[in-house]
């Protein structure tokens, strides 16, 4: 038994109850993070217990990784050495929900799919659509800052998280923001927690603005010969008065992986020639009733080339959207050595970024798949057929890092199929706010109790 294991079991068992501290290697295997297993998994039941654990860890110089459903274990998060996982799934209540105010206060361990069920009873939902949607928790979704196709219409968590409570590295429960839809009292500290991967604090409560559920969703699927053609349709939609819910462009292989059967059915029925290999796919979802739907159904095909767009009815549209939302898990599943880059560019640069990616992958003979969101976020998946092609993958990653040198855009390694595998290239950055980010980390977690270290992704 390691020092960490014994110190934790001896001291925290009395606080949490012995059943809430896992030290058995079999149980701990489930907490494998970045290829490493923690010495213990601690399962607090309240924010006060979290605060106590953090204070204890600080005084014993132990380090922690907050976890939820552990669906992000394939995310590429630089991590310092850690001793224990802080498993948040027991802290899972809906603290307050006022449907008539469209506001919600919820604890982090709750599964998002279950929360959506509660909201659906009142005709509402949260436009969070993380990968692994059936299992992901609220806390993990927010802390990892993962996005979703719905951002096209609703924006991201930073646009509808109203406030938060969290435990900082000195073991204090702190809040910022509030539970009303408009509020400028104090600094928006909670924005820093979104996408911080638990490196600044442990989220113990999130306040959201909720939205009326989407009814009568439809989609168009359109096929193109090149990325450029698909992106041009994206531009035409952006310049129109239409406000679709989602807009994604899939490379030929990504289209095949996510939508292969669906697209074939839709296209074969409606388009002469049907789906042939090598096409880029644009999926655009929209919703409304009556004349609003008619308007979308009339106008979107006009923005595609004649006969190029096929309408998907509600059921098929939902399936297609769900698959696109799960692009990352699908891509990870498709290759044991998958490395997925996240490229953020201005919309006018989407086509160039896709071309650069294709070139870099093809040159190294690595199969690839890409999904570009209309807002300018691209998930570019390098999908080597077997492990061991690491040097080729590294070269492709480096090429892409170099293709986007300025601070206007960014490239990060977002996910990988074998998080315990060899280390991946670091990114040189021209950003000059890294120093402030390091100081933010110090302000929140002066003793570095929290092991995730997203800032270590750069040199």
């Amino acid at each position: 038994m390691s020092r960490a294991t014994s110190v934790i079991s001896e001291n925290l068992a009395a606080v949490l109850g012995s059943g809430q501290i896992l030290t058995n290697p079999d149980q701990l295997r489930g907490y494998l993070i970045g290829g490493k297993t923690p010495q213990a998994a601690i399962r607090p039941g309240s924010d006060q217990e979290v605060a106590e654990i953090v204070r204890f860890a600080r005084s014993e110089k132990l380090t922690l990784v907050p976890t939820g459903a552990r669906t992000k274990r394939n995310m590429h998060i630089p991590m310092n050495e850690f001793d224990a996982a802080l498993d948040m799934v027991r802290i899972d209540r809906v603290v307050a929900y006022d449907p008539a105010d469209l506001t919600l206060s919820v604890e982090p361990g709750l599964r998002l799919s279950r929360l959506q069920g509660v909201l659906a009873e009142h005709g509402q939902f949260l436009p969070l659509g993380p990968p692994f949607a059936d299992r992901a928790t609220v806390g993990g979704t927010i802390a990892s800052g993962v996005d979703s196709p719905l951002r096209q219409f609703y924006g991201t968590a930073r646009d509808y998280v109203l406030g938060m409570e969290f435990v900082t590295g000195d073991g204090r429960v702190v809040k910022s923001g509030g539970r009303v839809v408009k509020n400028v009292s104090g600094y928006d500290l909670h924005k820093l927690l979104i996408g911080s991967f638990g490196s600044l604090g442990v989220i113990t409560k999130v306040n959201f603005r909720t939205f009326p559920v989407v009814t009568s969703m439809r989609a168009f699927i359109a096929l193109f010969d090149s990325a450029q053609d698909a992106v041009e349709m994206r531009h035409r939609i952006a310049q129109s008065p239409l406000r679709p819910l989602t807009l994604e462009i899939l490379s030929p292989y990504a289209g095949e992986l996510c939508l292969g059967d669906l697209a074939r059915d839709a296209m074969d029925a409606k388009l002469p020639g049907g789906l042939s290999q090598g096409h880029w796919t644009l999926l655009v979802c929209f919703a409304g009733t009556g004349r609003v739907l008619e308007r979308y159904e009339r106008d979107i095909p006009l923005l595609a080339r004649p006969g190029q767009a096929a309408l998907l009815e509600e059921k098929t549209a939902s399936v297609a959207l769900a698959r696109v939302q799960e692009f990352l898990p699908i891509a990870l599943e498709s290759s044991p050595g998958a490395v997925i880059l996240r490229i953020s560019v201005l919309p006018s640069e989407i086509a160039r970024a896709l071309d650069d990616g294709a070139l870099a992958a093809t040159r190294e003979e690595i199969p690839w798949a890409a999904m570009a969101r209309g807002v300018g976020v691209i998930y570019f998946a390098l999908l080597p057929t077997a492990l061991g092609g690491r040097s080729r993958v590294d070269r492709a990653v480096d090429t892409l890092f170099e293709a986007f040198p300025s601070g206007r855009e960014s490239v990060t390694i977002a996910w990988r199929a074998d998080p315990g595998g060899e280390s991946l290239p670091l990114r040189k950055t021209s950003r000059n706010d890294l120093e402030q980010m390091r100081k933010i980390k110090h302000a929140f977690d002066p003793s570095r109790v929290f092991a995730p270290d997203p800032l270590a992704a750069w040199i």
Partner: protein, 460 residues
């Protein structure tokens, strides 16, 4: 640079009731100038305060502890308009409405629209995280800011965020917006531009009872309808405004709602119908749809000049900015009515009803000591009610030097302590905008009101 007392007089005020005189005012013309100013101030340990148009409503741009006011009046160029990507990069002194005007021909606009938008600057909007009537559907300033160039009190120039979405690392842009000039001086701002709606309908619903108007707002919210704007004016405000602007508001009404829906014409048609239905259900005496742009503009002119109108009819007034959950709107307005009767003070209500963001205007005569004390007590009771209802002390005006004493009513010592540590990341010596946001004396929650000078005009 200005340093003569008569010149400095102008910089003692902003749109709030606060007064503080700087030792000098400087007008940098570039980021390099700002760096020079900051270096000098740091060298001599002189407080430094940024200032846009001085329309702020919480004393954010006032030199509470003296020192140098840095006016961005000369840094007022639009640096880049990128129509294809719907972005613009501006200097901080660009007037809010000027940006929308500059891109109007491309079918785009800058969505945050504070009532002072014809004067207020985008730099000021960033510092205060300003709102406005149309933020109900479009979001406040923070939802539209993508990147900033800022000069820190250390003299460093730092770029936060990026024109592309989702820059990696911590969301420093997000925490910087709304930091009320306590983190750094903003020298460049990249914002999102939003497509102008294809169709707009503006409805004026007239009520004989305030309660019916507030019930309407609560029900519009509960039904999940999000109008572009949903503003309320009570009878007192209507009469003050009508006397001033002649917008055509009915003088005998207890309240009106000004509701705007926009977007695709089919969406607008449907939502306008739904809104009108809810208004009628809650006993609106009439629901009128503005026939054309001229009529719509006149109604908005009435709304946006409400505070100016208040200044014309009362020797002094004090406005608050509390926020409540929207379901509590009827109860809150009833409570404000009770407070008004209790102290025998007129309180006008004109506010962003759809957001639950109140702006009660408490009228009093500053020469009457008892009335002044009563106004303070009334303000106190209203804000306590907001907090008890689960709300906030400020929705869009900022904390500044006006509501700093209220912060402990919302935040614990641990909360405020972390906020101060984050301020220390950017502004370690406290050189920038000292005496703002955080209570100067510990544990004190009392309200602090200075009378509005007679005839002064301000907006919200």
């Amino acid at each position: 640079m200005l340093s003569q007392p008569e010149d400095l007089l102008l910089y003692e005020y902003d749109g709030s009731v606060e007064v503080a005189r700087p030792d000098c005012v400087v007008f940098p013309g570039s980021t390099a100038d700002v760096v020079e100013v900051v270096r000098l101030a740091a060298q001599h340990h002189v407080p430094l305060v940024g200032r846009g148009a001085g329309t702020g409503l919480s004393g954010g741009a006032l030199a509470r502890e003296g020192g140098i006011v840095t006016s961005f009046a000369r840094m007022n160029r639009i640096l880049e308009i990128d129509v294809e990507n719907q972005r613009a990069t501006v200097q901080p002194g660009v007037v809010n409405a000027d940006l929308s005007l500059a891109v109007q021909h491309t079918g785009l606009h800058f969505a945050p629209d504070p009532s002072s938008q014809k004067a207020c600057t985008i730099g000021g909007n960033v510092s205060e995280n300003s709102g406005g009537p149309h933020t109900l559907a479009y979001g406040v300033t923070t939802n539209h800011v993508l990147a900033l160039e800022v000069v820190l009190p250390t003299g460093e120039t730092v770029r936060l965020g990026s024109a592309a979405v989702d820059p990696p690392g911590y969301d420093l842009t997000g925490v910087f917006v709304g930091s009320e000039g306590t983190f750094g001086l903003v020298t460049e701002i990249t914002v999102r531009l939003v497509r102008l709606p294809e169709a707009v309908e503006t409805l004026l619903a007239v009520y004989d009872l305030v309660d019916d108007a507030t019930q309407t707002v609560a029900e519009i919210t509960a039904r999940g309808i999000t109008p572009a704007a949903c503003e309320m004016m009570d009878g007192w405000t209507i009469r003050a405004v009508e006397d001033y602007v002649h917008a055509g508001f009915p003088l005998d009404a207890a309240a009106v709602l000004l509701i705007e829906v926009d977007g695709l014409s089919e969406v607008v048609e449907k939502e306008a119908e739904a809104v009108a239905q809810v208004c009628t259900l809650h006993h609106a005496r009439s629901v009128r749809v503005a026939r054309d742009t001229a009529e719509r503009d006149l109604l908005w002119k009435g709304r946006k000049n409400a505070f100016g109108a208040a200044g014309r009819v009362s020797p002094s007034y004090y406005t608050q900015d509390g926020v409540i959950p929207r379901t509590k709107l009827p109860a809150t307005l009833r409570h404000i009515g009770e407070i008004s009767r209790k102290y025998n003070l007129a309180i006008g209500n004109v506010f962003h009803a759809g957001d639950g963001n109140l702006h009660p205007i408490i009228l009093f005569d500053q020469r009457n000591k008892q009335q002044f004390r009563d106004a303070v007590s009334a303000a106190d009771e209203i804000i306590e009610f907001c907090i008890a209802a689960g709300g906030s002390i400020t929705g869009e005006h900022g904390v500044g030097m006006e509501k700093d004493r209220l912060m402990p009513l919302l935040f614990s010592e641990a909360d405020l302590d972390l906020m101060k540590r984050v301020r220390g990341v950017f502004n370690p010596m406290g050189l920038l905008n000292p005496g703002k946001i955080f209570p100067t004396s510990k544990g004190c929650g009392e309200i602090y009101v200075r009378p509005q000078p007679a005839g002064a005009v301000r907006s919200a």
